[in-house]
């Protein structure tokens, strides 16, 4: 537990994230998000490889109509570039910048990586279907008291508690 002492107080971190979220809404009218930027990367890639396909496919069409502007040049992409810079800065200051695999005590590295891949896959699909991920939909949605934020909260965390028991070997 010594290591966690170097982490910031959870409530203070939360309050400050809330302040930045207010800033995001005040200046740009946006919530804080992450999966949207990953999607922008996917859209930009597909658009770059085959624009004609992207124009017709329903998933892409609305996002590639503007011919002059790359779908990657969006607010969220810049926000996530900032997230990357901020995370590196914080980790560097706290001396946590090192290559490692963090996992539960009872599984192997390979297993951890395979499960991480599967988890990422599911999150990729779920965030698209659910119109946003934990930060973009649930946290930012709760900030403006949107019903969808609270439904997402119940689904993600409620669902998590229901299934946690079956995957306990991964973590404890």
């Amino acid at each position: 537990m010594e290591k966690s002492k170097t982490y910031m107080n959870s409530y203070l971190a939360g309050i400050l994230i809330g302040v930045f979220m207010i800033g995001a809404y005040y200046f740009s009218g946006e919530g804080l998000g992450a999966s949207g930027a990953l999607k922008a990367v996917v859209v930009a890639t597909v658009d770059g490889v085959n624009h004609d396909y992207a124009k017709d496919a329903h998933f892409f069409s609305a996002r590639v109509q503007n011919e002059e502007q790359s779908p990657a040049k969006s607010w969220l992409v810049f926000e996530v570039l900032g997230v990357i810079a901020g995370a590196i800065l914080s980790a560097a200051l706290a001396g946590r910048l090192k290559m490692e695999i963090i996992k539960g005590p009872n599984i192997t590295n390979n297993k951890r990586l395979i499960f991480a891949l599967i988890g990422g896959l599911l999150f990729g699909i779920g965030s698209q279907l659910g119109r946003g991920c934990t930060s973009g939909m649930v946290m930012s949605g709760m900030g403006v008291l949107s019903l969808s934020g609270f439904i997402g909260l119940i689904a993600i965390f409620g669902g998590g508690y229901i299934i946690a028991y079956f995957f306990r070997k991964l973590w404890i």
Partner: protein
């Protein structure tokens, strides 16, 4: 829980309580402009549109112009400006006109016989936080004086004044000035209510 935890959570509770108190104490609509802001708005100088500017925009058939005639129906029927919509001052707040007056696509220009009526309507819209509304400076009286019956400047006047005069003369003939004002020579184009649109909608967040 540690000491700092209690402080931070306490802060959140205080904030929430504040929100609760002001929400229950005060049911006024939240999008109204506060009096101190109103003072700033009232003292701003760009609330007027000059008759020259209006003439220029009318002549270029500017589609972003929404002219509002605040006088009574009888006065409006006698004479009005091209394309003006008649909304007597007492009806300005009616629901049916809100889409015309509160929108940010077109420039709303209020006019009456003088600046008087328009200033009242303009105040109301600012109090409600509407954007993009202007007062026709001097109203119809000034319109007649400057655009329909412009006076030739003195020989000694500056070049600028002469240029303005020639513009006004052109405008005068365009608007059929000089003729009797009793009859409306202008065609009326009552614009249909325009739905509000934001200039650029916020993006999709995480979506």
């Amino acid at each position: 829980m540690k000491k700092f935890d209690v402080i931070y959570v306490g802060l959140l509770l205080v904030g929430a309580f504040w929100a609760f108190v002001i929400n229950s104490a005060n049911d006024e609509p939240i999008d109204r402009v506060q009096p101190c802001d109103l003072l700033d708005i009232v003292s701003q100088t760009d609330k007027y549109m000059t008759t020259d500017e209006l003439a220029r925009r009318l002549m270029s058939d500017d589609p972003t112009l929404a002219l509002i005639d605040l006088r009574s129906k009888t006065e409006y029927d006698k004479y009005s400006l091209t394309g003006a919509t008649n909304i007597p001052l007492e009806n300005v707040l009616d629901d049916e006109y809100v889409d015309i007056i509160n929108q940010d696509i077109q420039t709303v220009v209020f006019y009456g016989n003088s600046s008087d009526l328009a200033a009242k309507a303009w105040m109301l819209t600012k109090r409600l936080g509407y954007q993009n509304s202007y007062i026709l400076k001097g109203g119809l009286n000034r319109w007649v004086e400057t655009i329909l019956r412009p006076r030739e400047p003195q020989e000694t006047a500056s070049r600028v004044e002469f240029e303005r005069y020639s513009f006004r003369k052109a405008a005068s003939s365009y608007f059929g000035g000089g003729s009797a004002l009793g009859e409306s020579t202008t065609t009326k184009r009552l614009s249909a209510p325009i739905k509000r649109k934001k200039k650029s909608a916020a993006g999709g967040g995480c979506d």
